[in-house]
């Protein structure tokens, strides 16, 4: 069974490799203050939309940019520039996850995931922006 032993070792090596690389590369959830320390690193920031200030979006200027205020889980509020068209129903969101970088005091996001009130959608696809 020698050959299978070699195969077994390769399998274990790959498994360790996967765990190791993913532990190193995979980003953590974070907040604005941590993101401002490393302006070149991508962070996932969880927070809530400030609904008292309207979301700015003018597709005539740039259809791929909208901007709003978000408060992260530590209570820090920052202006967010999302480099995408404005997601539908943003104002209804309960929680937002942004993926992007903090540069010059603004958080530049290239992806957004919204959690909408889920009372009525038992297990159905939500809108992904």
């Amino acid at each position: 069974m020698k050959k299978l032993h070699i195969v077994g070792i390769i399998v274990i090596a790959v498994a360790i490799g996967v765990i190791f690389t993913s532990l190193q590369s995979n980003a953590s959830y974070s907040d604005f203050s941590e993101a401002s320390l490393n302006p070149d690193t991508e962070y996932h920031v969880v927070g809530k939309l400030n609904k008292t200030v309207p979301v700015e979006y003018d597709p005539k200027v740039n259809a791929d940019e909208c901007s709003f205020l978000m408060t992260d889980n530590k209570g820090v509020e920052k202006r967010v520039v999302l480099h995408k068209s404005v997601p539908q129903d943003m104002e209804k969101s309960e929680q937002i996850v942004l993926i992007g970088k903090m540069q010059a005091g603004e958080f530049h996001a290239n992806e957004i995931l919204m959690k909408c009130p889920s009372k009525y959608n038992d297990g159905k696809p939500q809108i992904k922006a």
């Binding site: 909408c116 959608n121 297990g123 159905k124």
Partner: protein, 871 residues
């Protein structure tokens, strides 16, 4: 409080339904116990009759639950919470099925139902030797599933959720005021099926997928029965047909989900490595692995541990996927939001119980088995009484893994002879290992939210490129093995012969693959501006070549070796289909082109490649803009119910350079009162590519004629001479300013001053209009004055002069009908995605052929066996 007597309720339906629910649970329990005793004492005829009767009662009860729920849905008995939540009076009849399985309870019921169907088929077709142990396992699974419908609240825990709970008893809705009125039912209408789900996908996808989930049960039951009866081999032959069936149905269900996502949801693709997609893909991959090691075992023997491990793992992974998707643990990592119905604890206990059962059956030594059981119960007791749940769970999982490895070493018969490197079984085994590894990696990535909870980490979910990074190499190896392996014979083959047979396919794959992949991925003019890393390009090319190799080699095998006998070529056909799926996925994803272009000049390249996607196109009504090789116009919107369709025409240039309409697309945005707005793409299918368009932003409001002539709120502009103002339909230049008095006159008499701003408005056709709003100052008072430019539907008020800055302030308001309607859209071109769908059909057909062939051979053997006996 007085008890209210409610009028018009059909309480007997609920009583009937609940009777069936309890009956199904108890009869499943009785069946499990009875089959256990029947399996202990094979000869007791009474136990057999008893067990069979119990399972029949269970089957009838499950069908009874389903029929009762249907009856309630069909007759709109809104006193039942489930009926009220999922159906409504106005709902078309064809969606009654869909509301049946829209909710959690209904989908569990669907799963239970399929288990019953498969269980009955299994019982009728199975060899009498295996009936008792397999049916005992199936009955036990049914006990757990039936309890999911109980709906008993024990403190903080919900033991299942009941589909027959009354609306006024459902804690979520019981406080609604109208329910306090005795006649509340008279006018009550249901909330109805979620409009997003009112399509044919919702009618066909869930039943197929749940049949797929249910189909993992028979192989699991066989494998457990094998462990239990210490007969590791003879269960495999009857189980193989079931394994193929599972591969086919589960595969179909998953691909249907992908097609649904591609056709009707706006993910921008057919696969997004979403946790919900992954958790149905993983059991399938493992089942494919199980099928292949079972084939090894059938033809050559050996691989006993792997067959048990994979057949069991596939079912356990279905349970785990139920836990992932139903417990709310995925939280923000999934687009499929599943509500937490307070069943997390129950689901964890189910998964753990079945792992326990498998490990306990694996242990041969009675002493170890009893001590393992005792330890497990002790640990459970400690965790319930004192907490430390996570540490105990981890410790228990570790111990169970340890025992599994120990049992493998101790009890499983090993091969004495080492497999030859040039044998089919060796490479098939390697292939199964690769599949298992690939499934493990996906499971690990998908489980990040679970790991976060277990180890109190804060890891973000894994992104798509990382999934691809690992899965592409696995696919390359798998496809190469798919091409090569069947040319080896069992035991030993001369490698030279294999190479001789394969060289033609290999050469063809290399030539064809390289001529395609080099320009597609490496030459600038074809590869486009996408700056992909070298590693990606090489792995894409290798995957493409490996895929072609698999197609050619299997085709050659089917034609040359099997001499084109379709009956025997099931596996080759399925392999070709599998390879085509991967080729189609590779080309359509890696060469997916964003054809909508943002015309804004603003660049954000400084932030990196990901931020500069620039794929949103602003399209104003009446405008014609380029979209890939097409020109596109937006013709207007149309509201049908809650669906708003945006009609667009696509044009191409003919030989003479004249635009000719090529096709029309109507992407839709659903203004869904329950779900919010949902964008549905529209796709034009061509043979070699798809043009996919979806709306990302649009005004859904009604532009009915009644308020067309109203003016909108004015906007203020501060400008100098020569500045321009933009309205919805014109560009307005502040041309000049004139006064009725010169400076000298003004200094003498400032009682009446008129300053006129001359504005030149150029409309879209280039026609110039003059507007002359006046600033009138009479006795130091500003007199209100406005200028209406009715041709353009614009109103101007010149209301302020800032002499120090030399600027003027002008208010402009536009007619509502002026605001040119626009949409923001994204459009993609998916090349050769039809290869993927073709591959799906071919793979399913191939598997089907293999199933029929297996059944035929099994039946033939039975005949010859019985024939021999008779002789």
């Amino acid at each position: 409080m007085d008890k209210i007597t409610f009028i018009g309720e059909h309480l007997w339906v609920g009583i009937l339904g609940n009777t069936f629910v309890f009956l199904s649970l108890i009869s499943a329990l009785v069946a499990a116990v009875a089959y256990y005793f029947y399996s202990k004492e094979q000869l007791t005829h009474e136990w057999k009759i008893f067990a069979r009767t119990a399972f029949s009662i269970h089957s009838i009860s499950v069908i009874g639950i389903a029929a009762t729920l249907f009856y309630a849905l069909f007759n709109h008995f809104y006193e039942y919470s489930y009926v009220w939540q999922h159906s409504s009076n106005s709902m078309p009849m064809q969606y009654i099925m869909s509301c049946f399985w829209e909710g959690q309870e209904g989908s569990f019921l669907l799963w239970t139902f399929w288990n019953v169907v498969l269980g009955n088929i299994l019982r009728r077709t199975i060899d009498s030797k295996w009936e008792a142990p397999t049916m005992a396992v199936i009955s036990l699974v049914q006990v757990f599933l039936a309890s999911m419908l109980l709906g008993i609240v024990l403190g903080d825990y919900n033991l299942g959720t009941n589909p027959f709970i009354l609306l006024r008893e459902n804690p979520e809705f019981a406080n609604m005021p109208f329910i306090q009125i005795p006649t509340y039912l008279v006018k009550l209408d249901g909330r109805g099926l979620n409009p997003l789900l009112m399509n044919y996908w919702m009618t066909i996808h869930p039943p197929t997928l749940f049949l797929g989930f249910a189909s993992t049960l028979p192989p699991f039951a066989f494998a457990l029965a094998g462990l239990w009866k210490r007969d590791f081999i003879s269960w495999q032959k009857p189980a193989l047909t079931w394994t193929f069936f599972s591969i086919m149905i589960l595969g179909t269900g998953i691909l249907m989900g992908g097609a649904w996502a591609y056709e009707a949801l706006s993910f921008g693709g057919f696969w997004a490595w979403d946790p919900v997609e992954n958790s149905s893909l993983v059991p399938w991959i493992v089942m494919v692995g199980a099928g292949h090691v079972m084939i090894i075992n059938k033809n050559k023997g050996g691989s006993l541990f792997m067959t048990h491990l994979l057949a069991i793992a596939s079912f356990l992974l279905v349970l785990y996927s139920t836990f992932l998707t139903r417990s709310g643990i995925l939280g923000e990592s999934s687009v499929h939001a599943f509500t937490d119905l307070g069943m997390q604890g129950q689901l964890v206990i189910y998964v753990i119980s079945f792992i326990f059962l498998c490990v306990a059956l694996l242990i041969h030594d009675k002493l170890i088995r009893v001590s393992y059981a005792m330890c497990s119960i002790l640990m459970l007791a400690i965790s319930v009484l004192y907490g430390y749940k996570k540490i105990i769970l981890l410790g228990w999982l570790g111990a169970s893994t340890g025992i599994t490895i120990f049992s493998y070493i101790k009890y499983f018969p090993k091969e004495e002879e080492e497999e030859s490197l040039y044998s089919r079984e060796f490479w098939m085994f390697i292939g199964s290992l690769v599949l298992m590894l690939s499934a493990l990696v996906i499971t690990y990535f998908t489980s990040i939210p679970v790991l976060n909870k277990l180890f109190t980490l804060n890891k973000a979910p894994v992104k798509i490129p990382e999934y691809n990074l690992w899965q592409i190499p696995f696919s390359i190896i798998t496809l190469t093995l798919v091409a090569v392996t069947q040319f080896f014979k069992y035991k030993k083959t001369d490698p030279k012969i294999v190479f001789k047979q394969l060289r033609f396919s290999l050469l063809l794959a290399l030539v064809f693959g390289l001529t395609c992949s080099i320009p597609l991925y490496f030459l600038k003019e074809y590869a486009g501006a996408k700056n992909l890393e070298k590693w990606n390009l090489i792995s894409y090319s290798l995957l493409f070549i490996a895929g072609l190799f698999a197609v050619f080699a299997n085709a050659e095998y089917a034609i040359r070796v099997l001499k084109g006998k379709i009956r025997h070529a099931g596996s080759s056909i399925a392999h070709i289909g599998f390879a085509l799926i991967l080729i189609g996925a590779l080309i359509s994803t890696s060469k997916k082109q964003t054809i909508s272009q943002n015309t804004s000049k603003k660049s954000v390249e400084g932030l990196g490649e990901d931020f500069n996607a620039k794929k949103s196109l602003l399209l104003t009504k009446g405008d014609t803009l380029p979209l890939g090789k097409y020109m596109v116009t937006y013709k207007g919107k149309e509201r049908i119910g809650i669906d708003v369709f945006f009609h667009m025409d696509y044009f191409t240039k003919n030989e003479k350079g004249v635009l000719v309409k090529a096709f029309e697309l109507s992407p839709m945005v659903q203004d869904n009162p329950r779900m919010g707005k949902a964008s549905n793409p529209d796709t034009k299918h061509f043979l070699n590519n798809d043009i996919y368009t979806h709306i990302t932003y649009a005004d859904l409001s009604d532009d009915s004629p009644k308020n067309k002539d109203a003016y909108k709120e004015p906007t203020n502009f501060v400008g100098h001479m020569g500045d321009t103002i933009f309205s919805g339909n014109a560009i307005i230049l502040i041309d000049s300013i004139t006064t009725n008095l010169n400076e000298e006159q003004f200094s003498k008499n400032d009682s009446f001053l008129v300053v006129t701003a001359v504005l030149k408005a150029t409309d879209v056709n280039g026609k110039v209009y003059r507007a002359t709003p006046k600033y009138i100052l009479k006795n130091s008072m500003v007199m209100p004055d406005q200028f209406e430019l009715s041709a353009l539907g614009l109103k101007f008020i010149f209301w302020k002069i800032n002499p120090t800055e030399g600027s003027v302030e002008i208010q402009m308001s536009e007619k509502v009908s002026n605001a040119k309607e626009f949409v923001v859209l994204e459009a993609y071109m998916f090349p050769y995605i039809n290869v993927l769908w073709l591959g799906c059909l071919i793979m399913i057909t191939g598997t089907l052929i293999a199933i029929f062939e297996r059944r035929r051979v099994n039946r033939l053997k039975k005949h010859t066996l019985s024939g021999e006996k008779n002789n």
